[in-house]
């Protein structure tokens, strides 16, 4: 069960340094009418890493992944996938990628085996190789004994694993996953990520979009996309260091919404956001912040049960960065 790579074909792919990257996006842009869905983004995905593409709905995640897979033609800019140009060499690109979207894209009326036969077939697998890969997928997805079941009879987690299996039948060196875990229960999500790590350990580059923060923590590199722009990229640790200038406090109190409003207007407050029954305040690094928070709340007859300095989560980082981006943008248009 070893994976074969198509790296031999890299010579057609251009510059020497590019060999280390599975995906290189250069000023990639997509405009639908008046709407700029993806706005001149640049990034590089290293071979063999799990690259997480994060952002709120409508930020341009799917549009980007669809351009990289050859489903959409970029309005401007270029990208290379496994060294091949997505516009000019889309046939080469298509042979080297696997793609799976949230919609799973299985034929509901066909059985597990027939789905595998079909997807194997369109990638040109046949005979012994198809039989071998079929065994691998059925085992990987835990579908042994269910080969003759129609796909519509499978539960969400199984269908999702079967869809993943179908998209890597041809052993692509690069795998694109567009919100692959949408609508799947937490246990299935966990086991799905185990499969992604497994593929990654075998050398497959995984490009995955998500809006689950816990999934983002699992990625080697994260790109944050917001309003069509890539506003941050780096490893989860690097991104968290962006917040070193700030301290994050988690505040448990009565009337958290009112408390947040009070703290938001303080000059030393950078950002507030609600987290469950508590809220987070990011402030400039000053020693007596907890005391100041307590005083303000007390003055307004809000009892603070707990004010605790915490290590920022990725969610804190993203909320902070999106707020900064919004501020920058309103500043831009205001001038």
């Amino acid at each position: 069960m070893k994976l074969q790579f198509a790296n031999k074909d890299l010579q057609s792919g251009g510059r020497e340094a590019d060999r280390n990257y599975a995906v290189i996006a250069d000023q990639l842009t997509k405009i639908f009418g008046n709407f700029v869905a993806v706005n001149h983004i640049n990034f590089k995905v290293k071979r063999g890493e799990v690259f997480g593409f994060l952002g709120p709905n409508g930020a341009g995640k799917s549009t980007t992944i669809r351009m990289l897979c050859g489903l959409l033609v970029p309005t401007e800019g270029t990208a290379k996938v496994d060294g091949f140009d997505i516009a000019g060499q889309s046939d080469d690109v298509k042979a080297r990628i696997g793609y799976m979207s949230q919609r799973f894209s299985l034929y509901e009326d066909l059985t597990v085996e027939q789905n595998i036969d079909f997807y194997g077939g369109i990638y040109g697998l046949e005979g012994r190789r198809l039989a071998e890969r079929k065994r691998w997928v059925i085992e990987m997805a835990g579908l042994s004994g269910k080969e003759q079941m129609p796909a519509h009879a499978l539960s969400g987690g199984w269908r999702q694993r079967l869809a993943l299996g179908c998209s890597v039948l041809h052993e692509p060196p690069i795998l694109f996953l567009d919100e692959p875990t949408g609508g799947v229960d937490p246990v299935s999500r966990r086991s799905f990520w185990d499969l992604i790590y497994d593929l990654s350990n075998r050398g497959v580059t995984v490009f995955v979009t998500t809006h689950y923060m816990d999934e983002a923590e699992h990625c080697n590199t994260i790109g944050l996309i917001y309003n069509g722009r890539l506003i941050a990229a780096g490893s989860p640790t690097e991104l968290k260091q962006n917040l070193n200038r700030y301290s994050i406090y988690e505040v448990h109190c009565t009337q958290p919404v009112d408390a947040m409003e009070l703290l938001k207007i303080q000059p030393w407050t950078a950002e507030t956001s609600i987290f469950g029954s508590a809220f987070h305040v990011s402030t400039l690094n000053e020693p007596d912040t907890p005391k100041k928070i307590d005083q303000i709340l007390a003055r307004n007859r809000i009892a603070a049960r707990k004010i605790e300095k915490i290590i920022p989560s990725l969610e804190d980082v993203f909320i902070h960065m999106i707020a900064e981006e919004d501020a920058r943008k309103t500043g831009d248009t205001g001038v």
Binding site: Y99, Y107, Q114, S167
Partner: protein, 380 residues
């Protein structure tokens, strides 16, 4: 990975067949609809006018009038249901369902004929069913013409005293469909009609369904080329459509005695050309509409209705207003029908319908090219 001229079609063909077979309803519709429609149209859509019920009022009561009246009942076109004894009985006779035609022979009939004068007979026809009435009037006209000629010849003989041969011996023969059975006329039309349904509707649905389910996207990220996808998706429907054609021909032969007079090879070729036109149209629809429901409606409107109404399948084109006749020139089924009737009923060769064949070829080529271009655009 496959490259070059080899086409990777089989996986798609295989899958498509599996889906068709699994969906018993589609399979049933594709295989049994043709037979059911043939039965329905063959027996119900009957334009033959036979055994028309006729009432006779013979005022003359001469041997001439009896001879004349007898002409009507030697064929099986008319059936004498009443003999009237007074003119008053004619009133209200046509109101019921029992009598469609009344023939009145006036009292001076025999006298006029004997004197070599022109005479009149009265025919009253129930015009409620105008098609049938027109046909019946045609029959009556032919019978009276023939009788007039006979009378004329006899009077010549009497005057000239010698045998006179009829200047024109009017002996009508209907070729190709001698019994004038509607079923024979309908079988070719049904083939066109059913092929239009199976090709246009089923291909349009088959492609749009994949778009709706999102499986099309999965195919589009694979190295499958548009031409492979198009061929792979259409070949199964070509096979099924050909099967449907054979079913219709077989049932046509068993039930209505319609045999193929001409070359089966020509028939297959012209049918294949027509099929490709239909498949192209189905593909084209699938690149324009997004939901199966809409695809079905559009397919029915652009394929089934024109084929039924404007191709000459049921309604003769020459009876249509001129501007509608102009529209029929862009309906492929019109040409296919004319070619099919030529091959099946007349046993004609290509020389009889080469113009139809050329149009069908152009139509198929345009449809395939346009739909492939559109398909390529959204697949790329």
């Amino acid at each position: 990975m496959k490259k070059g001229i080899s086409l990777n079609i089989l996986p798609i063909v295989h899958k498509e067949f599996r889906q068709i077979i699994r969906d018993k309803r589609i399979l049933g519709i594709l295989l049994f609809l043709p037979a059911a429609m043939l039965l329905m149209f063959g027996y119900a859509l009957n334009f033959d006018v036979k055994n028309t019920s006729m009432a006779v009022y013979d005022e003359d009561q001469s041997s001439d009038s009896r001879d004349f009246i007898q002409q009507f009942f030697t064929s099986d076109y008319f059936l004498k249901v009443r003999t009237l004894s007074s003119k008053a009985e004619i009133n209200n006779l046509l109101d019921g369902e029992h009598v469609r035609v009344v023939l009145v022979v006036p009292s001076e009939f025999s006298k006029d004929i004997q004197q070599g004068k022109s005479t009149n007979v009265q025919i009253i026809v129930d015009g409620a069913n105008s098609n049938a009435a027109a046909t019946v009037l045609g029959y009556i006209n032919a019978i009276i013409q023939q009788y007039s000629l006979k009378v004329m010849a006899e009077s010549f003989m009497r005057i000239g005293g010698r045998q006179v041969t009829m200047p024109i011996d009017f002996q009508p023969r209907v070729w190709y469909n001698p019994e004038l059975k509607s079923a024979k006329f309908l079988v070719p039309g049904l083939i066109a009609f059913i092929l239009m349904i199976t090709t246009v509707i089923s291909t349009a649905l088959a492609v749009v369904r994949e778009r709706e389910l999102g499986t099309m996207e999965q195919i589009m990220v694979s190295p499958i080329r548009p031409i492979e996808l198009i061929l792979g998706k259409t070949i199964p429907y070509v096979v099924i459509s050909l099967f449907a054609t054979i079913t219709i021909l077989l049932f046509g032969y068993i039930l209505f005695d319609v045999s193929i007079k001409g070359s089966i090879f020509l028939l297959s070729v012209i049918t294949l050309i027509f099929l490709f036109g239909g498949l192209g149209l189905g593909m084209l629809i699938s690149t324009i509409v997004e939901t199966q429901q809409l695809a079905f409606m559009v397919a029915v409107i652009v394929s089934m209705l024109p084929t039924f109404i404007l191709s000459g399948f049921v309604f003769p084109i020459r009876n249509m207003p001129v501007f509608i006749q102009v529209i029929t020139y862009i309906i492929p089924a019109r040409y296919f029908l004319s070619a099919l009737r030529a091959v099946i009923l007349k046993g004609a060769g290509l020389s009889a319908f080469w113009d139809d064949a050329i149009f069908l070829t152009i139509y198929a080529a345009v449809m395939i090219v346009v739909s492939s271009l559109r398909m390529r655009k959204f697949l790329a």
